[in-house]
Each structure stands twice: as structure tokens, then as C-alpha cells.
Symmetry: C2
Subunit: 221 residues, 2 copies
Amino acid sequence: MPLGLNDDQLKRIDDIVATRRKVKRGGTLFRNGESFTSLYAIRTGFFKTCVATEDGRDQVTGFQMAGEVIGLDGIVNDHHTCDAVALEDAEVCVMPFDRIEELSREVTALQSHVHKIMSREIVREHGVMLLLGSMRAEERLAAFLLNLVQRLHARGFSQSELVLRMTREEIGSYLGLKLETVSRTFSKFVEEGIVEVKQRHVRILSTDALKGIVNNQQACH
Amino acid sequence: MPLGLNDDQLKRIDDIVATRRKVKRGGTLFRNGESFTSLYAIRTGFFKTCVATEDGRDQVTGFQMAGEVIGLDGIVNDHHTCDAVALEDAEVCVMPFDRIEELSREVTALQSHVHKIMSREIVREHGVMLLLGSMRAEERLAAFLLNLVQRLHARGFSQSELVLRMTREEIGSYLGLKLETVSRTFSKFVEEGIVEVKQRHVRILSTDALKGIVNNQQACH
DNA sequence: CGCGTCATTGATGTGCATCAAGTGGTGTGG
DNA sequence: CCACACCACTTGATGCACATCAATGACGCG
């Protein structure tokens, strides 16, 4: 939350997030088609959001961790258009959207905050589109790891070590790759001495090497 | 714009969009890195938005037509993170964002409208991620054509005939394909009698066939 | 009319998907 | 506590969809 609020304003924002909800690992916070009432701020735990085609294929559209907000997709049509699934036991703050709108009419900082959260999501998705549309497997995985570790670092975790909360298949779905390709690409990074991988434990040995993979043109021709 | 506003409110919203700006074909409305001040509602013309990697590759993130709003990417960091390029001579309404925020604190309908526009963009991008992450070339192009013609139809144009404002390369960039693949896929649709194509003029002969391509699993095994 | 841009089409190459087999870690129940 | 089953993961062999390279054709504009 942003700064510069007086006690009354802070209290009222607090009231919005008064109710909480726990979601067990594997459980859903909301599902495609459910009616939209609230945004959710993640307190603890880890989520994925995914959309599906009618014929059953699905696509992970994002991974969310503590401090991030999910449910924005529901605003436009008053029902959700994706599933939010907990990848580990989680707890969220339930924030009824009508109350957010009400209060953000009075508290400028809240209004601005809401706009920025939505804009941030749009920009993030631009980045994913760039990744899906024009990067090769190694670049995708490198970008993914860098993004994850950067977000974890901002939350006080290590810059070089992380535990993946999702399966290879879920990573693949997010990155537009098959799980075998994700696994092979991990192995390749290990061979090259860029990372150590032991199951879901990943240690990044050279952040620079990863950045080099993301930024460099596929060195061909 | 939504309904249910009184004259005073309408007038004040009108004041926001009082200033206009023309952009010639090929010109940019804003560029990556430029400071963000306003959202733009397209009055006439056709735009693309695109992001770029440091090494020069770029990705079209969307095509926008009359009535749609661009510039939402700029809100989060007060500067734009993509380019908006006119694909034909265009005119936009310039809507200073601070005035939008100001007025949407007073006019509930405007506030709701702004939220829905941003949410709609998020949902649209989910769809693009699904397309880029899990569809084959034919499905991507079919989905693209259906989406375009549906939006044009909503604006009073034909359900079956359209003129592409963008090159094959730009379509390819949006769909994560090379221009040759876009061209070949068009040719394939023509062979199958699904569309007629003459340069940028496209006539859809069977909307159902296109829908079938999008929805059907790639008929394998 | 000639040039540049955009589009089509063919030949070939390659990155990733697919299919398949096997390994290792985890949890459960006897 | 161990045997077994299950699931996630790894790794190899093969195939295919799309990329790449290259040549030609069709507009449109100065």
C-alpha cells in the first residue's frame, strides 16, 4: 500500500481487507464462470491462474505470490474468465470490489493504486506476449527464472536460490513449451554451469549468463 | 460511453475529450519511453501497439480500431512501455489521465467504465497468451480473422468482408508467426474454400469453418 | 514507366513436439 | 519399516510444423 494516508483513511482501507480466506494446496480461489465480487490480495502462498479453450487445452497465464492481487479479469463482465489455483496452502485478503470502488472515490491514493495495479498487469502481459511470440525455449526459461528470482528477492528471499512451487508441466504451459522441453532446457543450463537443479530446488550460479541468454539474439548466421 | 448520466456529467466528460490529435499513417501516437500523460480514444483510423526487446526483435501486442482506448500501459510507471503506430491516417481524442481520475472520483459511471476498459484489456491479453502458447498456425489465423471481423461488425461493417490494415509481417508478429507462414496459411484457407483473399481484401465464405478450426483439437493420432 | 514495398510460392533446415522407456522421490498401507 | 504404487521428472529416438533462404510476382506511387 502506498503512503501519505491519514489514520482515518488507513482504517477504512483496513476495513476493506478485514475478511480473509484460506485455500488449500490444489484448491481454487475462483473458477472460470463464477461471478465476480472481489479482488484478492495474497497474504501467504502461491497461485497460478489459467484459462482454457473449449476443447480442453489450457494455458497458465501467470504465477502470483504474496503481495500480489488476483481477480482483475472479473471486473469487465462481472464474472471470472480464468481459474485461480493455489500451488501451496495459501491465505488471501478478500476485498469486495464495490467497496474498493466506493473508497477509491474518496481516497485518491487508493484510486491511483488500483489503476497502477491494473496497468502493471497489462504491462506484464505484454512481456509474456513478447516471450511467447518471439523467444526460443532457452530464452523463455531464462526470462522466467530471472523474473521469479527478482520477485522473490523483492520479498526478502535469496537472489540466487529458489524453490519452484509449480511442476515442469505448469512452467511449460506458462512458457508455451512442453514439459519435456522445460526439463531438457534445465538440463542444458546445468551442463553449462549456469544453474544447479535438484528437483524443484534451483540455485542460480550466474545471473549474468541468464541475462545474456535473454538478451542475445539467437546466435545464428 | 455508458448511459445514465445527467447533462452536467456528460458535459464534463465531454470537456475531458475536448482536445484531439491527428496521426498520419506510419506516425506514432506515443513511443516506448515517452512520459505518460493521457489515454487516447480512437475516433478514426487504425493502430498497432508493439513492444521490443533490447536486441531489436519486436512483437505486436494488439491492433486497435475506432472506439478503443490505448495508452493504458503508461499508467503504472508514468511512461509508456510500447509504441503506438497508426496503420492509416487517424484521429484520436486526447484524455489527460489526471482529469480522468479527478472526474471518475465524482462520476461513478465513469469510474466503472475505466475499470472495465482496463479489465477488458487484461482479459483480451489472456486470450492472446492462450493463442500464442497453445495454438497452431491455422488456429491462430482463424482466431485472428474471427476477432477482427467481429469487432468490425460491431461497428457496422460487414460480417464477412474486411480490409486488412496491416501487412502480413505485422499479422505474423501479432500471432507469433513469420510472414511466409501467414501467407501460406491464407493460401490454405483459400484452397479449402473458407475465404477469398485478394491482397489485403478478405472475404470470409464460411465463418463456421473458421470457428471449427479454432475450436477443434488439432486432429492428430 | 520504373522502382520499392508487400505478397506468394518453393526448397530446405531445425527447434521443439511427440512417443517411449526408465529413474527417483514420496506417500500409503500392510 | 518395508513394499508397492504413483507421480514428477529425465533422457533418448523420431517426426513434423514452422522457420529460413531464395526467387518471382503484383501493386502502388513518384
